[in-house]
């Protein structure tokens, strides 16, 4: 019996460290639903108004402005023309602007995009899935995403002014 005392001690303490470490570690790394600047933007696959699928990965290598919006949200509507102008201005330099609609009917989204003359890709979220994935708390929320896929800045609420957007876009282009 005595011979096994030491190994038994080691085995039990190893178990404690393993199980305890896991349990305590879990409490530290509880995945928070809130994204922060510096983190990688979560991957998604969504369809646009014409039924074509877009993945976040498709935009890797280009600076990206990802705008969550809904027709029911006045500031979202107000900032849409500014986003469109920025898109037109910076498109040539490689800027991507993508709008993700907040799980509304395709018809409302289409007629809204048409009446506002939006021609950057508008993707349709379904059942608030991607919205939840990105931990949205307020509308609109805009993610400024670097070419490597990490978030540079999150603008919560709105409307954002054209100069506000432009400053951040310029920063996206700085190496």
């Amino acid at each position: 019996m005595k011979r096994y005392r030491k190994p038994i001690q080691y085995i039990i303490l190893a178990f404690v460290v393993l199980i305890g470490g896991y349990a305590i570690g879990q409490s530290f790394f509880k995945k928070s639903t809130v994204l922060k600047a510096g983190e990688a933007a979560p991957e998604f696959t969504l369809a646009d108004l014409s039924g074509q699928t877009h993945r976040l990965d498709d935009y890797k290598g280009k600076p990206l402005v990802l705008n969550f919006w809904g027709t029911f949200c006045p500031p979202c509507r107000d900032e849409m023309p500014d986003l469109q102008r920025i898109y037109e201005k910076w498109q040539g330099q490689g800027l991507q602007v993508v709008g993700i609609n907040l799980s509304e009917d395709r018809i409302s989204v289409r007629s809204f995009a048409k009446s506002y003359g939006v021609n950057f890709p508008i993707l349709l979220d379904k059942n608030r899935k991607i919205e939840r994935l990105y931990g949205l708390k307020e509308y609109p929320t805009t993610f400024f995403i670097r070419p490597d896929g990490t978030i540079q800045e999150i603008a919560v609420g709105g409307p954002m002014s054209e100069s506000f957007i432009e400053q951040r876009v310029e920063r996206l282009f700085q190496p």
């Binding site: 019996m1 005392r5 030491k6 038994i8 001690q9 080691y10 039990i12 303490l13 404690v16 199980i19 305890g20 896991y22 349990a23 305590i24 879990q26 409490s27 530290f28 509880k30 696959t45 969504l46 369809a47 039924g51 699928t53 809904g70 027709t71 029911f72 006045p74 509507r77 907040l102 799980s103 509304e104 009917d105 395709r106 018809i107 409302s108 007629s111 993707l123 349709l124 379904k126 059942n127 899935k129 939840r132 708390k137």
Partner: protein, 561 residues
């Protein structure tokens, strides 16, 4: 501390031994001379007690201490109590900004409470750390005591030291009037009748050990095994697949995905019933007393195209259940409980007619679902194209139509009607399916303004004939979705723990030693509880062998006082 561990009987004991493993003679000098002996673990040394402990031994010894265990439990209890001062964050269905909520609801103390992390006490690292430490302490304390105790009890020496016998709680000394060997035989028979196991010293038959219910000594350790299973099960809840606690709100007829699962649930119908007045006692008459909350629910699983953004997921129904309070829908560890409901009328679909006001003829009906409506409809010779949908109709600052939210609270549809006798571009009409005076007015105003703009001729209107053409949801039902795979283990742990407690509480380990030196009989008896019981047994057995003695007289403590 240097300690001579060799007993006068010649037995070499391990460090920390209180009573000689062989003869039971006390080895610790500073025991008060007259008091009964400390019989914990039969005086055996705790397993890990060593003369030169290294680091691992020190850690081990820390957890091996009962004093430490008690403090850990006290601290955990205080921590757990602190967690109950204000509601925990996890008890809210929807809490977007907990810091703000605690500040607004509970003032400064709430702010401090949240700042200290007490609003998440039971998930905090320190609380889980305490549980892990208690678990460790349980394992190590038990192991360090149960093994020496087991060893001590399985190789007991029959002949004990006089000091050991005289310092038990139950003691009797006398001079035998009869033949000692014969008396021992007789006494042994009496004890056997009381279901004692009896050993008589093989050498000369002048010493005896009788013992019963030894198994009750293992009760605490079995209890501890149960607690460890229980604790491990609680910690296992941290594994994401083992535990889920979510809420899904569904209108009648609505189908929704249960987040992070391949399952979808549909609310076919929600029913709430209240007791009628004749069913209620006098004092409750006239009050609303719920009798039934029921959600007729169907659970689906997604078999294909689950994450395809273009195609709709392929759903297969797997279970149907009428969910009532305490009667959840249960499927493969997933449980859906009735949690809440709200009366909120929402249209599911309507079947309106297209009415031509010029000749009062109506066409249709056509089916118009409120969510994901198709783009085109046929009504008689006319084609209706949906050009805009406002699920929750409102007007913005510039009096343009907009939707106030994405919930179908008051939907409005804009159609372009084309067909015989109409301009090529068609005519545009707005339609509010929700019947209300306000909607009627709005609809008329808006269609009139369209007419002024030249978008329509005012020829058409929409009409729903009778309630059979309207399907609506009256209630929104909220279901609580739970997965708790740890629960069976928690029950098993609790059951083992209860078995251990019963073993330890309802039986007592009783031992009687005696030795005869010449004609002098010395008897000592020990039990871990119920000393009255053992004194009565000893007195009765002595009485049957011709030694009349009052049970009370056997009480060693009483005699000394």
């Amino acid at each position: 501390m240097f300690q001579n561990t060799k007993c006068e009987c010649g037995h070499q004991n391990p460090t920390g031994t209180v009573l000689c493993e062989a003869c039971g003679n006390p080895l610790v000098d500073d025991l008060p001379p007259d008091s009964p002996l400390e019989m914990r673990y039969d005086g055996a040394a705790r397993r890990s007690q060593k003369q030169n402990p290294d680091l691992i031994d020190r850690v081990w010894n820390f957890f091996s201490s009962v004093k430490v265990a008690v403090w850990l439990i006290v601290i955990t209890l205080i921590g757990a109590a602190l967690g109950t001062i204000y509601p925990q964050e996890s008890s809210f269905v929807n809490l977007d900004d907990p810091a703000q909520y605690y500040k607004d609801t509970y003032g400064t103390w709430g702010m401090i409470y949240h700042f200290l992390g007490l609003s998440r006490t039971y998930e905090s690292w320190w609380f889980i750390g305490l549980l892990v430490m208690i678990g460790t302490s349980l394992v190590i304390c038990s192991l360090d005591r149960v093994l020496p105790l087991y060893k001590a009890l399985s190789k007991q020496q029959v002949r004990k030291h006089l000091n050991f016998l005289r310092r038990q709680q139950t003691v009797y000394e006398t001079t035998l009037q009869t033949e000692p060997a014969e008396w021992v035989e007789k006494f042994a028979r009496e004890l056997k009748r009381k279901r004692y196991r009896v050993w008589i010293d093989r050498k000369d038959g002048m010493a005896l050990l009788a013992e019963k219910n030894r198994f009750s000594r293992w009760g605490p350790y079995i209890n501890h095994i149960g607690l460890i299973v229980f604790l491990l099960a609680v910690l296992a809840r941290a594994v994401p697949a083992w535990h889920m606690d979510k809420y899904v709100s569904l209108d009648e007829g609505q189908i929704k995905q249960i987040p992070d699962t391949p399952y979808y649930v549909k609310n076919e119908k929600f029913t709430v019933e209240f007791y009628s007045d004749d069913e209620l006692p006098e004092r409750l008459k006239g009050t609303l007393r719920p009798k039934l909350y029921e959600t007729k629910a169907t659970l689906y699983t997604c078999t294909a195209d689950c994450d395809d953004p273009v195609k709709d997921p392929v759903l297969v129904p797997v279970k149907q259940h009428n969910i009532q309070v305490n009667s959840p829908l249960s499927y493969k560890g997933l449980k859906l409980y009735q949690y809440n409901y709200e009366e909120r009328i929402r249209l599911i679909s309507v079947k309106p007619m297209l009415v031509d006001k010029t000749n009062n003829r109506s066409y249709g009906p056509f089916e118009l679902p409120m969510t994901d409506p198709p783009l085109t409809y046929k009504a008689g010779p006319y084609t209706l194209k949906l050009s805009d949908v406002y699920p929750d109709f409102g007007l913005d600052e510039q009096n343009r139509p907009m939707t106030k939210s994405r919930d179908p609270n008051n939907p409005a549809f804009v159609f372009v009607v084309t067909g015989p006798g109409l301009a090529a571009g068609g005519e545009m009409y707005i339609y509010f399916p929700m019947p209300s005076a306000e909607n009627k007015k709005l609809q008329d105003q808006l269609n009139e303004s369209f007419r002024k703009l030249g978008s329509n001729s005012g020829r058409f209107a929409f009409e729903v004939n009778g309630m059979e053409n309207v399907s609506f949801s009256q209630y929104t039902s909220t279901l609580n979705v739970r997965v708790d795979r740890a629960m069976p283990y928690i029950w098993v742990g609790a059951a083992i723990s209860m078995i251990g407690l019963v073993m330890g509480f309802y039986w007592q380990h009783r031992r009687i030693w005696l030795r005869i030196d010449g004609r002098a009989l010395t008897l000592g008896a020990h039990t871990n509880k119920n000393t009255y019981g053992i004194r009565a047994e000893v007195a009765a057995a002595l009485g049957r062998t011709g030694i009349a003695v009052e049970p009370k007289a056997l009480d060693n403590r009483r005699n000394k006082r």
